[in-house]
């Protein structure tokens, strides 16, 4: 049942700017072999994500949300199944090519912010550009633009531990966006924040999605935050239990 729903939703007109699929995973399995017993984390997951979509993944603890997100974000590999990113067969790529694809198109946001403690805000923002080998002058421009846009110019010389959680997450979002990725994966981005800060971050992600067409895939526990997405994938014990199309986004 989940399968048909997914296939439907792939074609599903959810009011997106672009209809071609950005990501397609088919029959994905992920398990851990331990003492000859396979413990399945993901089973038979088939899912399409359109370019420009805002997708939420929900489910109880241990349902495989984060694992799915890591696989989609190319930080982890499935044991079985296909993964197409912009029609490229990621499941056949070696780590090097996967990293290259990841670097080019993917941004990540974590629940625990995960800024590099020894680097200032400015330097944290600069790091992904360094790995992308962006030229110095261009890098400076990009970092300064981003600082401006997120209204954190005044904080650029501070270290992470000098910022509040909300501010740190803001920097983390800015860092994920600075390379202009096609898709941002967010792993419970508001989990450590109070409700006001959480709302601000969610508004920012929604705005990004709306105005710049950045695809966003978030994992969340929170029903309200999930509803920022166009669709909500409900996972249970590693399987897609159901796909919910968020009504008011269809309008």
């Amino acid at each position: 049942m989940s399968e048909t729903m997914t296939m439907d939703s792939k074609a599903g007109a959810v009011g997106l700017k672009h209809d071609q699929p950005l990501i397609e995973v088919i029959d994905l399995f992920k398990y851990y072999a331990n003492n000859f017993v396979k413990t399945y984390v993901l089973q038979d997951v088939t899912l399409g994500i359109a370019d420009g979509e805002f997708l939420s993944i929900m489910g109880p603890s241990g349902a495989g949300k984060s694992t799915l997100l890591h696989i989609l974000g190319m930080l982890d590999e499935a044991n079985q199944g296909q993964y197409l990113f912009l029609n490229e067969p990621v499941h056949r790529f070696n780590e090097k090519r996967r990293t290259a694809l990841h670097r080019e198109h993917v941004g990540f946001i974590f629940q625990a912010y995960h800024l590099i403690d020894d680097l200032t805000v400015y330097e944290n923002l600069e790091t992904p550009l360094l790995y992308k080998k962006v030229k110095s002058s261009e890098r400076k421009g990009l970092v300064n633009d981003t600082l401006d846009r997120f209204n954190i110019v005044a904080k650029k010389d501070l270290f992470p531990h000098q910022l509040s959680g909300g501010q740190q997450q803001l920097v983390a979002v800015a860092r994920a966006l600075i390379t202009r990725p096609k898709v941002i994966f967010a792993d419970e981005p508001t989990g450590n924040l109070n409700s006001k800060q959480g709302t601000e971050i969610m508004e920012m992600l929604a705005q990004l999605n709306r105005e710049e067409g950045t695809t966003i895939v978030q994992v969340t526990h929170d029903e309200v935050k999930a509803r920022y997405g166009h669709r909500i994938i409900h996972l249970l014990d590693g399987r897609i239990e159901r796909v919910e199309v968020v009504g008011d986004k269809l309008g």
Binding site: D118, L119, L130, Y131, K132
Partner: protein, 798 residues
């Protein structure tokens, strides 16, 4: 990118000051010691190889085979050998002989009168064979005139002012003849066995032994030959032996040919050798290994501390990978960090070397200069060490760190979870301590042997004996009167004349014992009556020379004489009772044995006591030895000097104390002991720095565990035990490994001595207890800190 890495590296260093300091300090110590050792060894490896044609210069070495196990390699030759070889064998282009004078001449210029103890008589082709540079004068002609003298800069400065031109100036030798300065040579560098302050033409040295010039039976000088082109040494050796037998008549004699390049490190087995400062390949290997080991110890600290700390860097690695870092880039980053650390260590090591350099030069007895900041060998060596250590020590942690999987390290809530490498760390700590323990034991053994050598009964009494050379002229005419005057100085107990002192062996010649027709080369020393009292020899049988019996003293023209011999000589001759037997020697003089003396050590403890014959040859004396019984040696010398100056105004008094003279034989061993001591201290220090870092880290990681245990009721003592036990076990394990390995190695070392100290067994437990205590102290400091922590503090933040 680079700046980004360096920023991180720098901030990391600053954030963990204690850890960084341990790392930098340990590495710096290791590098400094390695640099000192490698510089020292480098001198050995380049010894005499700086001559332009060092690969073409060879010397003939005599192999005197007495049958059985006895073989003697003798690197001094007869005078006619060199010229004959150049004449008859086309392989040789030219040659030079080097002959050191029997006695130091007195050189005079104006008011200056100085003994020149470092003189040599050489052939005029000396500067064609060797590459000592002349600052003034022509190398072709410098030594052609018979009254020429070549001075080194150092010798020049003793006689001439800076603004004088010494060329063509006159010096007077022994107040007998004048010589003309024809050239000024550079001072011989430290890395050559040919040390001289003055060179005279070969002819000038033969005044008192002209009869030796054509003698194919007397070995008394060194011969060096220059080849036309490289040849096979074995073939050459047999040609040299053949050529010798066309002239000489010693049937058993064979020659082999030693390249100059081998002389320094491959002459251990040559018993009679004019080769000051000679070392051996074994020494080079041993020292080099110590250097490498100490450097390794420091690198291990670095690797251990870095991988232990990897856990705290894991999150950063994960993040960087999520931000698009390739593995290669992360490896570069961490290598960069270790290079930064090793760069700081290098600067500190440069400082250490600058400060410790003079001390090391003193202890090692080698004039080494470390101009670390002037682009010398030391500079490049240090840069090389810095880079090598940075990469070597950094590579393993870099590979470990960069292979962390972002999903694992970012997901896990407890970023401090153990992450492997623990076993390797323990193995490395054991290795470090094993090396330290080995060095401590080696130090103990070397000291034991040194102490043994210095305190062993020598068979003679070296204390309270002053030795002075007999002046060439003005002595013999009136010698009884002179000696009488010396004996009147208060404190003089007895005196004797001799050709050599007991600690310096003797000359050797061929002797034929009664009942045999075969000649053997045996050491002999010419001593006057009274020698037994002065030198403290013990006469076991028969009697010593008697001053009252004129027949005891041999005079020119006598065909008979008397002699004493030591126990070793009796053994070699295979006699039961030597008294009354006869020995033929020195041409055809028959000596009757009148006494047997106890074996005494006349050379280093490396060699067995060899046979020694004591004769009493009137013309052969060159030394006066005086036994005195005054505690104020200095005042005694002054009073003696007053008598001397009155009688020999031409020449200053020159003297040595016999014990100093003897103890100098142990200088090499003493140096070895000091070096080992210094190195083992450094090794232990580095190992302790290492476990200090590891202990701090592992205790830090177990803070929570300690707190929980305390809450559950563990006593402070138990927790202390928990934290220190692990390291104690490692150190004990290190002992188990180090003991047999060191025992084996040091047994080999002991075997190089014919007379060995008993094994100092106590050094084994001493090394074990010492390292264990030091380790416990180091770890204990950390443990006490952890034990004292109140549980609430630790648990609150978890």
């Amino acid at each position: 990118m680079f700046r980004n890495y360096m920023t991180i590296a720098w901030r990391n260093l600053m954030r963990q000051k204690g850890y960084s300091l341990l790392n930098v300090l340990g590495l710096a110590l290791g590098m400094a010691v390695a640099l000192l050792i490698f510089s020292f060894v480098r001198v050995d490896l380049r010894w005499d190889r700086w001559h332009d044609n060092s690969d073409l210069i060879v010397r003939p070495v005599e192999l005197q085979d007495f049958g059985g196990d006895e073989r003697t390699d003798v690197a001094v030759t007869m005078a006619p050998l060199g010229p004959m070889l150049v004449e008859e064998l086309p392989e040789f282009e030219t040659m030079t002989r080097v002959m050191h004078g029997w006695r130091a001449p007195v050189l005079m210029r104006g008011e200056k009168r100085l003994y020149e103890s470092s003189t040599a008589y050489v052939d005029s082709s000396f500067f064609q064979v060797f590459s000592f540079k002349l600052l003034q004068g022509d190398p072709e002609t410098a030594l052609t005139r018979r009254d020429a003298v070549v001075l080194t800069e150092e010798a020049r400065d003793r006689y001439f002012e800076a603004d004088e031109n010494p060329i063509g100036q006159i010096l007077r030798v022994n107040n007998q003849r004048d010589v003309v300065v024809t050239a000024i040579s550079e001072d011989p560098p430290p890395d050559t066995h040919l040390k001289y302050a003055m060179l005279f033409p070969f002819d000038a040295g033969l005044d008192d032994q002209r009869e030796n010039l054509d003698d194919w039976g007397s070995n008394f000088l060194a011969t060096y030959l220059k080849l036309v082109a490289p040849v096979n040494m074995d073939t050459l050796a047999s040609k040299v032996t053949e050529a010798y037998h066309r002239h000489g008549d010693w049937a058993e004699l064979e020659f082999w040919v030693q390249p100059l390049n081998d002389m320094h490190l491959n002459s251990e087995h040559i018993e009679i050798d004019i080769n000051p400062g000679k070392s051996s390949m074994n020494n080079v290997y041993a020292l080099g290994a110590v250097g490498v080991f100490i450097l390794l110890l420091a690198c291990i600290n670095f690797m251990n501390l870095s991988t232990a700390r990897a856990i705290t860097r894991a999150r950063e690695v994960g993040l960087r990978k999520v931000s698009g870092a390739r593995k290669r880039e992360l490896i570069f980053q961490f290598l960069g960090e270790s290079l930064l650390v090793s760069f700081f260590a290098m600067l500190l090591a440069a400082l250490v070397v600058e400060l410790a350099g003079p001390w090391f030069a003193d202890v090692s007895g080698r004039a080494l200069e470390f101009n670390v900041f002037s682009g010398s060998f030391a500079t490049w060596m240090l840069l090389g060490l810095g880079a090598a250590v940075g990469i070597l020590a950094g590579l393993y942690p870099a590979v470990v760190l960069s292979s962390f999987k972002p999903v694992t390290v970012l997901k896990s809530a407890d970023s401090r979870s153990t992450m492997g490498g623990g076993r390797l760390r323990r193995v490395l700590v054991v290795f470090q301590f094993a090396i330290s323990i080995g060095l401590i034991i080696a130090t103990g053994v070397v000291y034991a042997q040194l102490q043994y050598g210095l305190t062993k009964p020598l068979g003679f009494d070296k204390e309270n004996v002053l030795v002075m050379p007999i002046p060439d002229q003005g002595f013999w005419d009136n010698y009884e009167d002179h000696l009488n005057a010396f004996s009147k100085v208060p404190g003089v107990v007895d005196y004797a004349l001799s050709s050599r002192v007991p600690s310096r062996g003797g000359s050797s010649s061929g002797f034929v014992p009664e009942g045999s027709d075969r000649s053997r080369v045996i050491n002999w020393n010419s001593v006057s009556a009274g020698g037994d009292k002065v030198f403290g020899w013990e006469v076991l049988d028969g009697r010593f020379f008697d001053p009252e019996l004129t027949t005891d003293r041999w005079r020119d023209g006598d065909t008979t004489g008397v002699m004493l011999m030591n126990e070793a000589a009796v053994r070699q001759f295979g006699w039961d009772d030597p008294i009354g037997k006869t020995v033929r020697g020195f041409g055809n003089i028959t000596f009757t044995v009148i006494g047997l003396i106890r074996d005494y050590h006349f050379s280093s403890l490396h060699t067995q006591i060899e046979p020694m014959l004591l004769v009493n040859l009137g013309p052969g004396f060159s030394l006066v030895s005086i036994r005195y019984n005054r505690p104020d040696a200095h005042a005694f010398v002054q009073e003696l000097e007053a008598v001397w100056d009155e009688r020999f105004p031409d020449r200053p008094l020159d003297y040595v104390f016999l014990d100093e003279n003897f103890d100098s034989m142990f200088r090499a061993e003493e140096r070895q002991a000091h070096l080992f001591q210094a190195f083992s201290i450094v090794a232990v220090l580095i190992a302790c720095l290492g476990i200090l870092g590891l202990a701090a880290f592992s205790t830090g990681r177990r803070t929570r565990e300690i707190a929980v245990r305390k809450v559950l009721g563990a006593s402070e003592g138990r927790i202390f035990g928990l934290l220190t036990r692990e390291f104690a076990i490692l150190v004990l394990l290190a002992n188990v490994i180090a003991w047999p390995a060191t025992y084996w190695l040091m047994s080999k070392w002991f075997e190089t001595f014919a007379y060995r100290a008993p094994w100092p067994w106590w050094v084994f437990p001493a090394a074990a207890v010492g390292t264990l205590l030091l380790a416990l102290l180091t770890v204990g400091l950390q443990a006490v800190k952890a034990v004292r922590l109140r549980p609430a503090m630790a648990l609150r933040y978890e």
